[in-house]
Protein backbone atom coordinates (compact mmCIF):
# COMPACT_ATOMS: atom_id res chain seq x y z
CA UNK A 1 0.00 0.00 0.00
CA UNK A 2 1.34 3.39 -0.97
CA UNK A 3 1.84 6.11 1.59
CA UNK A 4 -1.24 8.20 2.17
CA UNK A 5 -3.59 5.69 0.58
CA UNK A 6 -5.49 4.80 3.77
CA UNK A 7 -6.12 8.48 4.49
CA UNK A 8 -7.42 9.13 0.99
CA UNK A 9 -9.58 6.01 1.14
CA UNK A 10 -11.23 7.25 4.34
CA UNK A 11 -11.55 10.73 2.86
CA UNK A 12 -13.65 9.33 0.00
CA UNK A 13 -15.85 7.46 2.47
CA UNK A 14 -16.21 10.60 4.58
CA UNK A 15 -17.15 12.55 1.47
CA UNK A 16 -19.90 10.04 0.69
CA UNK A 17 -21.25 10.28 4.25
CA UNK A 18 -21.25 14.08 3.99
CA UNK A 19 -23.09 13.89 0.66
CA UNK A 20 -25.74 11.67 2.25
CA UNK A 21 -26.61 14.31 4.84
CA UNK A 22 -26.15 17.39 2.65
CA UNK A 23 -27.11 17.15 -1.02
CA UNK A 24 -29.13 13.94 -1.13
CA UNK A 25 -32.40 15.69 -0.37
CA UNK A 26 -31.84 17.87 -3.43
CA UNK A 27 -31.57 14.95 -5.82
CA UNK A 28 -35.24 14.41 -6.44
CA UNK A 29 -37.57 11.75 -5.09
CA UNK A 30 -36.34 10.43 -1.77
CA UNK A 31 -37.12 6.84 -2.72
CA UNK A 32 -35.06 7.06 -5.91
CA UNK A 33 -32.11 9.28 -4.99
CA UNK A 34 -28.78 7.42 -4.56
CA UNK A 35 -27.98 6.12 -1.09
CA UNK A 36 -24.49 7.51 -0.44
CA UNK A 37 -24.22 5.90 2.98
CA UNK A 38 -24.86 2.43 1.63
CA UNK A 39 -22.44 3.19 -1.20
CA UNK A 40 -19.74 4.06 1.35
CA UNK A 41 -20.37 0.74 3.07
CA UNK A 42 -20.19 -1.20 -0.19
CA UNK A 43 -16.95 0.51 -1.21
CA UNK A 44 -15.56 -0.26 2.24
CA UNK A 45 -16.43 -3.94 1.75
CA UNK A 46 -14.47 -4.02 -1.50
CA UNK A 47 -11.23 -3.78 0.47
CA UNK A 48 -12.14 -5.42 3.73
CA UNK A 49 -12.70 -8.93 4.98
CA UNK A 50 -16.25 -10.27 5.31
CA UNK A 51 -16.14 -10.16 9.12
CA UNK A 52 -15.10 -6.51 9.29
CA UNK A 53 -17.62 -5.69 6.56
CA UNK A 54 -20.43 -7.38 8.48
CA UNK A 55 -19.48 -5.43 11.62
CA UNK A 56 -19.36 -2.16 9.68
CA UNK A 57 -22.74 -2.99 8.16
CA UNK A 58 -24.19 -3.63 11.60
CA UNK A 59 -22.96 -0.27 12.91
CA UNK A 60 -24.23 1.64 9.86
CA UNK A 61 -27.55 -0.17 10.00
CA UNK A 62 -28.03 0.47 13.71
CA UNK A 63 -27.35 4.18 13.24
CA UNK A 64 -29.87 4.32 10.43
CA UNK A 65 -32.39 2.49 12.58
CA UNK A 66 -32.10 5.29 15.11
CA UNK A 67 -33.34 7.65 12.38
CA UNK A 68 -36.21 5.37 11.29
CA UNK A 69 -37.40 3.80 14.55
CA UNK A 70 -40.41 2.19 12.85
CA UNK A 71 -38.11 -0.60 11.70
CA UNK A 72 -35.53 -0.67 14.50
CA UNK A 73 -33.15 -3.60 14.06
CA UNK A 74 -34.24 -4.34 10.49
CA UNK A 75 -31.70 -1.88 9.09
CA UNK A 76 -28.92 -3.41 11.20
CA UNK A 77 -29.81 -6.89 9.94
CA UNK A 78 -30.05 -5.73 6.33
CA UNK A 79 -26.76 -3.84 6.34
CA UNK A 80 -24.99 -6.72 8.12
CA UNK A 81 -26.15 -9.14 5.43
CA UNK A 82 -25.25 -6.75 2.62
CA UNK A 83 -21.83 -6.00 4.09
CA UNK A 84 -20.93 -9.63 4.60
CA UNK A 85 -22.27 -10.88 1.26
CA UNK A 86 -20.64 -8.02 -0.63
CA UNK A 87 -17.19 -8.72 0.82
CA UNK A 88 -17.66 -12.46 0.38
CA UNK A 89 -18.84 -12.17 -3.22
CA UNK A 90 -15.91 -9.90 -4.12
CA UNK A 91 -13.59 -12.66 -2.98
CA UNK A 92 -15.50 -15.40 -4.75
CA UNK A 93 -16.19 -13.68 -8.05
CA UNK A 94 -12.79 -11.98 -8.32
CA UNK A 95 -14.56 -8.83 -9.36
CA UNK A 96 -12.28 -6.01 -10.44
CA UNK A 97 -14.48 -4.90 -13.25
CA UNK A 98 -16.46 -1.68 -13.39
CA UNK A 99 -19.67 -3.34 -14.53
CA UNK A 100 -19.41 -6.05 -11.90
CA UNK A 101 -18.94 -3.38 -9.28
CA UNK A 102 -21.95 -1.50 -10.64
CA UNK A 103 -23.95 -4.71 -10.45
CA UNK A 104 -22.78 -5.18 -6.88
CA UNK A 105 -23.96 -1.69 -5.91
CA UNK A 106 -27.33 -2.30 -7.57
CA UNK A 107 -27.82 -5.71 -5.97
CA UNK A 108 -26.66 -4.44 -2.57
CA UNK A 109 -29.19 -1.62 -2.58
CA UNK A 110 -32.02 -3.84 -3.72
CA UNK A 111 -31.16 -6.57 -1.20
CA UNK A 112 -30.90 -4.03 1.62
CA UNK A 113 -34.33 -2.61 0.82
CA UNK A 114 -35.83 -6.09 0.48
CA UNK A 115 -34.51 -7.24 3.85
CA UNK A 116 -35.69 -4.02 5.56
CA UNK A 117 -39.12 -4.36 3.96
CA UNK A 118 -39.53 -7.99 5.04
CA UNK A 119 -37.81 -7.81 8.43
CA UNK A 120 -39.69 -4.70 9.55
CA UNK A 121 -43.02 -6.41 8.87
CA UNK A 122 -44.55 -3.01 8.16
CA UNK A 123 -45.01 -3.33 4.40
CA UNK A 124 -47.39 -5.75 2.72
CA UNK A 125 -49.34 -6.36 -0.45
CA UNK A 126 -49.09 -3.67 -3.14
CA UNK A 127 -46.78 -1.61 -0.93
CA UNK A 128 -44.26 -4.44 -0.87
CA UNK A 129 -44.59 -5.04 -4.61
CA UNK A 130 -44.05 -1.39 -5.42
CA UNK A 131 -41.11 -1.22 -3.06
CA UNK A 132 -39.38 -4.28 -4.45
CA UNK A 133 -40.24 -3.95 -8.13
CA UNK A 134 -40.24 -0.19 -8.66
CA UNK A 135 -38.65 1.97 -5.98
CA UNK A 136 -35.82 -0.33 -4.91
CA UNK A 137 -34.61 -1.08 -8.47
CA UNK A 138 -34.70 2.64 -9.26
CA UNK A 139 -32.74 3.49 -6.13
CA UNK A 140 -30.35 0.62 -6.91
CA UNK A 141 -29.83 2.03 -10.37
CA UNK A 142 -29.05 5.55 -9.21
CA UNK A 143 -26.79 4.20 -6.46
CA UNK A 144 -24.97 1.97 -8.96
CA UNK A 145 -24.44 4.83 -11.40
CA UNK A 146 -23.15 7.04 -8.60
CA UNK A 147 -20.91 4.24 -7.35
CA UNK A 148 -19.40 3.67 -10.78
CA UNK A 149 -18.73 7.41 -11.09
CA UNK A 150 -17.06 7.42 -7.67
CA UNK A 151 -14.89 4.43 -8.60
CA UNK A 152 -13.85 6.05 -11.87
CA UNK A 153 -13.14 9.43 -10.30
CA UNK A 154 -11.37 8.15 -7.21
CA UNK A 155 -9.89 4.85 -8.44
CA UNK A 156 -6.37 5.88 -7.44
CA UNK A 157 -7.47 7.20 -4.07
CA UNK A 158 -9.41 4.01 -3.42
CA UNK A 159 -6.50 1.90 -4.76
CA UNK A 160 -8.85 -0.26 -6.76
CA UNK A 161 -7.80 -1.98 -9.96
CA UNK A 162 -10.55 -1.87 -12.55
CA UNK A 163 -10.90 -3.56 -15.90
CA UNK A 164 -8.44 -6.33 -15.12
CA UNK A 165 -10.81 -9.23 -14.65
Amino acid sequence: MRRGEPLRFWLVLALLVALQFSIRSRLGNDRVAPDFLLLALLIYTIRERPGASAAAGFVVGLLRDALTPASFGAGALAHTLVGYLSAWSKAVFFAENLLVNGGLFFAGTWLRNMVVAFASGKLAGPQMMWELLVWSPLQGLTTAITGVLVLVLFRHWLAIRLGES
Binding site: Q20, R47, R49, P69, A70, Y84, W88, V116, W135
Partner: protein
Protein backbone atom coordinates in the same frame (compact mmCIF):
# COMPACT_ATOMS: atom_id res chain seq x y z
CA UNK B 1 -3.23 -2.26 -2.11
CA UNK B 2 -5.59 -3.70 -4.66
CA UNK B 3 -8.52 -5.97 -4.13
CA UNK B 4 -7.82 -9.02 -2.08
CA UNK B 5 -9.43 -11.50 -4.40
CA UNK B 6 -7.73 -14.46 -2.81
CA UNK B 7 -9.62 -14.41 0.44
CA UNK B 8 -12.84 -16.08 1.41
CA UNK B 9 -14.64 -15.90 4.71
CA UNK B 10 -12.63 -17.47 7.53
CA UNK B 11 -14.14 -18.94 10.65
CA UNK B 12 -13.54 -15.64 12.44
CA UNK B 13 -15.41 -13.74 9.72
CA UNK B 14 -18.33 -16.13 9.99
CA UNK B 15 -18.43 -15.78 13.76
CA UNK B 16 -18.44 -11.98 13.54
CA UNK B 17 -21.20 -12.16 10.92
CA UNK B 18 -23.34 -14.47 13.02
CA UNK B 19 -22.76 -12.28 16.07
CA UNK B 20 -23.94 -9.20 14.18
CA UNK B 21 -27.00 -11.04 12.89
CA UNK B 22 -27.81 -12.16 16.42
CA UNK B 23 -27.42 -8.61 17.75
CA UNK B 24 -29.68 -7.33 14.95
CA UNK B 25 -32.36 -9.85 15.89
CA UNK B 26 -32.03 -8.81 19.53
CA UNK B 27 -32.45 -5.16 18.46
CA UNK B 28 -35.58 -6.06 16.49
CA UNK B 29 -37.13 -7.81 19.46
CA UNK B 30 -36.36 -5.09 22.00
CA UNK B 31 -39.43 -3.68 23.73
CA UNK B 32 -40.27 -0.06 22.97
CA UNK B 33 -39.19 0.95 26.48
CA UNK B 34 -35.62 -0.15 25.75
CA UNK B 35 -35.51 0.54 22.03
CA UNK B 36 -36.66 4.15 22.08
CA UNK B 37 -34.09 5.41 24.63
CA UNK B 38 -31.36 3.59 22.71
CA UNK B 39 -32.40 5.21 19.43
CA UNK B 40 -32.78 8.55 21.15
CA UNK B 41 -29.30 8.23 22.67
CA UNK B 42 -27.79 7.56 19.25
CA UNK B 43 -29.57 10.57 17.77
CA UNK B 44 -28.36 12.80 20.60
CA UNK B 45 -24.71 11.68 20.38
CA UNK B 46 -23.22 9.98 17.32
CA UNK B 47 -25.83 11.18 14.85
CA UNK B 48 -26.15 14.72 16.17
CA UNK B 49 -23.53 16.33 13.87
CA UNK B 50 -24.98 14.53 10.86
CA UNK B 51 -28.51 15.66 11.69
CA UNK B 52 -27.26 19.22 12.16
CA UNK B 53 -25.52 19.01 8.79
CA UNK B 54 -28.73 17.78 7.19
CA UNK B 55 -30.73 20.51 8.86
CA UNK B 56 -28.32 23.21 7.67
CA UNK B 57 -28.45 21.76 4.18
CA UNK B 58 -32.25 21.85 4.21
CA UNK B 59 -32.21 25.45 5.40
CA UNK B 60 -29.71 26.37 2.70
CA UNK B 61 -31.79 24.63 0.06
CA UNK B 62 -34.82 26.68 0.88
CA UNK B 63 -33.05 29.96 1.65
CA UNK B 64 -33.22 31.19 -1.93
CA UNK B 65 -36.93 30.50 -2.17
CA UNK B 66 -37.48 32.01 1.23
CA UNK B 67 -35.56 35.13 0.25
CA UNK B 68 -37.85 35.67 -2.72
CA UNK B 69 -40.86 35.07 -0.47
CA UNK B 70 -39.56 37.51 2.13
CA UNK B 71 -39.03 40.19 -0.50
CA UNK B 72 -42.54 39.65 -1.82
CA UNK B 73 -43.99 39.68 1.67
CA UNK B 74 -42.07 42.85 2.52
CA UNK B 75 -43.47 44.57 -0.56
CA UNK B 76 -46.94 43.41 0.33
CA UNK B 77 -46.45 44.57 3.90
CA UNK B 78 -45.39 48.04 2.78
CA UNK B 79 -48.50 48.26 0.66
CA UNK B 80 -50.69 46.93 3.42
CA UNK B 81 -49.45 49.34 6.08
CA UNK B 82 -51.31 52.13 4.36
CA UNK B 83 -54.59 50.41 5.18
CA UNK B 84 -53.53 48.55 8.31
CA UNK B 85 -55.48 50.48 10.90
CA UNK B 86 -58.68 50.38 8.95
CA UNK B 87 -58.22 46.70 8.09
CA UNK B 88 -57.52 45.76 11.70
CA UNK B 89 -60.62 47.51 12.92
CA UNK B 90 -62.70 45.88 10.21
CA UNK B 91 -61.20 42.51 11.01
CA UNK B 92 -62.05 42.86 14.69
CA UNK B 93 -65.61 43.77 13.81
CA UNK B 94 -65.97 40.83 11.44
CA UNK B 95 -64.46 38.38 13.93
CA UNK B 96 -66.81 39.60 16.57
CA UNK B 97 -69.71 39.19 14.19
CA UNK B 98 -68.79 35.77 12.86
CA UNK B 99 -67.16 34.35 15.98
CA UNK B 100 -63.98 33.27 14.22
CA UNK B 101 -60.90 32.36 16.17
CA UNK B 102 -57.43 33.47 15.27
CA UNK B 103 -55.47 31.19 12.95
CA UNK B 104 -53.18 28.97 14.99
CA UNK B 105 -53.25 31.66 17.63
CA UNK B 106 -51.81 29.58 20.46
CA UNK B 107 -48.50 28.97 18.73
CA UNK B 108 -46.55 26.47 16.69
CA UNK B 109 -42.94 25.45 16.10
CA UNK B 110 -41.66 25.36 12.51
CA UNK B 111 -39.35 22.47 11.55
CA UNK B 112 -37.63 20.84 8.59
CA UNK B 113 -38.21 17.17 7.75
CA UNK B 114 -34.91 15.27 7.64
CA UNK B 115 -35.63 12.47 5.18
CA UNK B 116 -33.79 9.12 5.24
CA UNK B 117 -33.25 6.54 2.49
CA UNK B 118 -35.01 3.54 4.00
CA UNK B 119 -38.20 1.90 2.67
CA UNK B 120 -39.99 2.35 5.99
CA UNK B 121 -39.15 6.06 6.18
CA UNK B 122 -42.76 7.03 5.42
CA UNK B 123 -43.83 5.56 8.76
CA UNK B 124 -41.63 7.72 10.98
CA UNK B 125 -39.74 10.89 10.06
CA UNK B 126 -37.19 12.93 11.97
CA UNK B 127 -37.80 16.70 12.20
CA UNK B 128 -35.39 19.46 13.16
CA UNK B 129 -37.14 20.72 16.29
CA UNK B 130 -37.11 19.23 19.75
CA UNK B 131 -37.59 20.02 23.40
CA UNK B 132 -35.39 23.12 23.12
CA UNK B 133 -37.93 24.61 20.72
CA UNK B 134 -40.83 23.57 22.93
CA UNK B 135 -41.91 20.42 21.12
CA UNK B 136 -43.68 17.92 23.37
CA UNK B 137 -44.67 14.31 22.92
CA UNK B 138 -48.00 13.61 21.16
CA UNK B 139 -48.07 17.12 19.67
CA UNK B 140 -49.82 17.25 16.26
CA UNK B 141 -47.51 17.86 13.29
CA UNK B 142 -49.06 19.59 10.28
CA UNK B 143 -48.11 21.03 6.94
CA UNK B 144 -50.15 23.70 5.15
CA UNK B 145 -52.20 20.91 3.56
CA UNK B 146 -53.12 19.13 6.79
CA UNK B 147 -52.09 16.52 9.32
CA UNK B 148 -48.80 14.65 8.92
CA UNK B 149 -48.74 12.79 12.25
CA UNK B 150 -47.94 13.14 15.93
CA UNK B 151 -44.67 13.53 17.80
CA UNK B 152 -43.55 10.13 19.05
CA UNK B 153 -40.27 11.03 20.77
CA UNK B 154 -38.37 14.23 21.44
CA UNK B 155 -34.73 15.12 22.00
CA UNK B 156 -32.96 18.43 22.42
CA UNK B 157 -32.94 19.52 18.80
CA UNK B 158 -34.83 16.80 16.96
CA UNK B 159 -38.04 14.82 17.26
CA UNK B 160 -39.44 11.65 15.76
CA UNK B 161 -42.87 11.92 14.17
CA UNK B 162 -45.10 8.88 13.71
CA UNK B 163 -46.94 9.69 10.49
CA UNK B 164 -50.50 8.72 9.62
CA UNK B 165 -48.99 5.77 7.69
CA UNK B 166 -47.61 4.20 10.88
CA UNK B 167 -49.47 0.98 11.76
CA UNK B 168 -50.20 2.30 15.26
CA UNK B 169 -51.78 5.56 14.04
CA UNK B 170 -55.42 6.05 14.97
CA UNK B 171 -57.49 9.24 15.00
CA UNK B 172 -61.11 10.14 15.30
CA UNK B 173 -62.26 11.67 12.01
CA UNK B 174 -65.34 13.43 10.73
CA UNK B 175 -66.70 14.90 7.56
CA UNK B 176 -66.03 18.62 7.17
CA UNK B 177 -69.70 19.40 7.88
CA UNK B 178 -69.67 17.26 11.02
CA UNK B 179 -72.31 14.86 9.73
CA UNK B 180 -70.23 11.66 9.75
CA UNK B 181 -67.76 10.28 12.27
CA UNK B 182 -65.37 7.34 12.14
CA UNK B 183 -61.96 6.07 13.13
CA UNK B 184 -59.01 6.88 10.85
CA UNK B 185 -56.32 4.23 10.45
CA UNK B 186 -53.68 3.45 7.81
CA UNK B 187 -54.93 1.28 4.97
CA UNK B 188 -51.67 0.49 3.17
CA UNK B 189 -51.06 1.12 -0.50
CA UNK B 190 -53.52 1.23 -3.35
CA UNK B 191 -52.92 -0.80 -6.49
CA UNK B 192 -50.94 2.12 -7.88
CA UNK B 193 -48.70 2.24 -4.83
CA UNK B 194 -50.30 5.32 -3.26
CA UNK B 195 -50.50 5.11 0.52
CA UNK B 196 -54.04 5.55 1.81
CA UNK B 197 -56.02 5.85 5.03
CA UNK B 198 -59.27 4.21 6.08
CA UNK B 199 -62.28 5.77 7.75
CA UNK B 200 -63.71 2.88 9.74
CA UNK B 201 -66.95 2.36 11.55
CA UNK B 202 -69.23 4.59 9.49
CA UNK B 203 -72.86 3.42 9.89
CA UNK B 204 -74.17 1.69 6.78
CA UNK B 205 -77.04 4.09 6.31
CA UNK B 206 -74.70 7.10 6.17
CA UNK B 207 -73.27 7.34 2.67
CA UNK B 208 -70.05 9.33 2.26
CA UNK B 209 -69.65 10.54 -1.32
CA UNK B 210 -66.20 10.59 -2.94
CA UNK B 211 -64.62 13.99 -2.53
CA UNK B 212 -65.79 14.47 1.05
CA UNK B 213 -63.09 16.17 3.11
CA UNK B 214 -62.23 14.41 6.36
CA UNK B 215 -61.05 16.38 9.39
CA UNK B 216 -60.02 15.37 12.87
CA UNK B 217 -62.98 15.43 15.23
CA UNK B 218 -61.09 16.32 18.40
CA UNK B 219 -62.26 13.18 20.21
CA UNK B 220 -59.60 10.97 21.72
CA UNK B 221 -57.62 13.52 23.67
CA UNK B 222 -54.62 13.86 21.35
CA UNK B 223 -55.48 15.76 18.18
CA UNK B 224 -57.43 19.03 18.12
CA UNK B 225 -60.61 19.35 16.09
CA UNK B 226 -60.52 20.52 12.48
CA UNK B 227 -57.16 19.32 11.10
CA UNK B 228 -57.57 18.26 7.45
CA UNK B 229 -56.61 14.59 7.09
CA UNK B 230 -57.66 13.71 3.57
CA UNK B 231 -60.41 13.18 1.04
CA UNK B 232 -62.69 10.19 0.60
CA UNK B 233 -61.97 8.37 -2.67
CA UNK B 234 -64.10 5.23 -2.39
CA UNK B 235 -65.29 2.28 -0.33
CA UNK B 236 -62.75 -0.18 1.07
CA UNK B 237 -65.18 -2.70 2.53
CA UNK B 238 -68.68 -3.00 3.98
CA UNK B 239 -70.44 -5.26 6.41
CA UNK B 240 -74.06 -5.58 7.47
CA UNK B 241 -74.05 -2.47 9.60
CA UNK B 242 -70.97 -0.40 8.73
CA UNK B 243 -68.77 0.74 5.89
CA UNK B 244 -65.06 1.45 5.70
CA UNK B 245 -64.08 4.24 3.33
CA UNK B 246 -60.75 4.86 1.61
CA UNK B 247 -59.24 8.28 2.26
CA UNK B 248 -56.52 9.87 0.18
CA UNK B 249 -54.29 11.66 2.72
CA UNK B 250 -53.80 15.40 2.41
CA UNK B 251 -50.09 15.14 3.22
CA UNK B 252 -47.80 12.54 1.57
CA UNK B 253 -44.97 11.93 4.11
CA UNK B 254 -42.30 11.47 1.46
CA UNK B 255 -42.98 14.80 -0.22
CA UNK B 256 -43.29 17.14 2.73
CA UNK B 257 -40.21 19.16 3.64
CA UNK B 258 -41.45 21.78 6.13
CA UNK B 259 -43.89 21.21 8.95
CA UNK B 260 -45.33 22.93 12.01
CA UNK B 261 -45.59 21.30 15.40
CA UNK B 262 -48.72 22.61 17.07
CA UNK B 263 -48.74 23.59 20.70
CA UNK B 264 -52.34 24.60 21.33
CA UNK B 265 -54.77 23.22 23.85
CA UNK B 266 -56.66 20.05 23.05
CA UNK B 267 -59.98 21.80 23.03
CA UNK B 268 -58.97 24.07 20.16
CA UNK B 269 -60.88 23.96 16.86
CA UNK B 270 -58.62 24.46 13.85
CA UNK B 271 -61.31 24.16 11.22
CA UNK B 272 -60.81 27.74 10.11
CA UNK B 273 -57.02 27.77 10.31
CA UNK B 274 -56.30 25.86 7.13
CA UNK B 275 -56.54 27.32 3.67
CA UNK B 276 -59.68 26.34 1.78
CA UNK B 277 -57.43 24.79 -0.90
CA UNK B 278 -56.44 22.01 1.46
CA UNK B 279 -60.05 21.11 2.02
CA UNK B 280 -61.07 20.92 -1.61
CA UNK B 281 -62.07 17.62 -3.09
CA UNK B 282 -59.22 15.88 -4.92
CA UNK B 283 -60.63 12.53 -6.06
Amino acid sequence: MALGADRYATRGDTLVFLGCVALSLVAMSLPAGTRDPLASGLRRTVLLPFLQLQNQSELLRTSRTRFAQVVAERDSAVLATAFQGELRAENVRLRALLGLGTRLGSGFVPAEVLHQAIPTEALTVVISAGTRQGVRQLAPVVSPEGLLGIVKATEGGTSVVATWAHPDFRASGMAADGSIFGILAPHGASERGVWLLELRGVPYRQVVPPGTVILTSGFGGVLPRGLPVGTVVGIASESEWERTYLVRPAVPPGAVSHVMVLGMQLGADLGGAFAPDSQKATP
